[in-house]
């Protein structure tokens, strides 16, 4: 299959997904900063907790959301969740990755086939490098916390 890299418009969809998530879920907007090309061997910016979505279908690659414990803790509070175990943090970081990726289907359609999230602490999983194009890091701040969405996707060209 022949693939193309993501365009700036494609990346903007993910920035919008971040804004939408924090506005709706927490009513406290996040500051979404300009995306940049992320040149590392592995397309993820490890943080306390990380949620990874694998893309297939008309895409290949990964979408990963990485955040500090403090940010996730505050989101759990917003959701009324009193549990603060490792399982809670792994669950919410994966769910955020899922929601940000799912929102992108508004733009890409169902060709963006996304997996259930895989979550881990720090660098506890080995990411498979399936996309060949550049990875884009989208930094965000929410209150005192900084987190990142890293989008590393190739999109199949239509015949």
């Amino acid at each position: 299959m022949n693939y193309r890299h993501l365009s700036p418009d494609d990346i903007e969809v993910f920035s919008e997904a971040i804004s939408n998530f924090f506005n709706l879920m927490t009513r406290q907007p996040a500051v979404v900063k300009t995306a940049y090309v992320f040149k590392q061997p592995v397309p993820i910016i490890w943080n306390d907790f990380n949620g990874v979505i694998q893309a297939t279908g008309g895409f290949r690659g990964t979408i990963s959301f990485s955040a500090p414990r403090g940010l996730l803790n505050e989101i759990l509070v917003v959701l009324g969740e009193s549990g603060k175990s490792q399982a809670h943090f792994l669950d919410i970081v994966g769910e955020i990755a899922n929601q940000l990726s799912g929102r992108a289907r508004k733009h890409f359609g169902e060709a963006l086939d996304i997996s259930a999230p895989i979550s881990c602490e720090r660098d506890a999983i080995a990411l498979q490098l399936t996309a060949e194009g550049p990875a884009y890091a989208i930094p965000l701040t929410w209150g005192p916390y900084e987190a990142h969405l890293v989008v590393h996707l190739d999109l199949a060209r239509r015949a």
């Binding site: 929601q99 929102r103 259930a116």
Partner: protein, 123 residues
């Protein structure tokens, strides 16, 4: 009337969140009869408890939500299904509705949006 609700989502946090919102005074009395983290468990729980309503995620391990909706709609045609999913494209929503769901709510959702969607589902 007390409605029986089955909550299906692979996220424990979302299952807990939906469960807590069932105490909203705008909703009729709702009894949570089951919580399931994938389609296979949801199907088993649906057959055991015969819920009136189901909130159904789509992206889940093992059996996904679409396959589960299809099965439940055949086996329990009176169960009303509200899809609660992050998948934001129209084709997915239409397909879920075609397979037997009665409503679709996109994640992330506000508390009010979930309550209103459930009220609509129970009409």
């Amino acid at each position: 009337m007390r409605y029986k609700l089955l909550v299906v989502d692979d996220s424990m946090i979302i299952r807990n969140h939906i469960t807590r919102l069932m105490a909203d005074p705008r909703l009729p009395k709702i009894e949570i009869v089951g919580l399931a983290s994938d389609g296979e468990k949801a199907l088993a729980a649906a057959l055991e408890h015969r819920p009136d309503c189901i909130t159904m995620d789509l992206t889940m391990p093992n059996m996904d939500g679409e396959a589960c909706i299809e099965q439940i709609s055949k086996l329990l045609p009176d169960a009303r299904i509200l899809v609660v999913s992050a998948l934001a494209d129209k084709a997915t929503a239409l397909r879920a509705l075609t397979k037997g769901a009665q409503g679709f709510l996109h994640k992330p959702f506000t508390d009010d949006q979930l309550v209103e969607s459930l009220l609509e589902l129970m009409k």
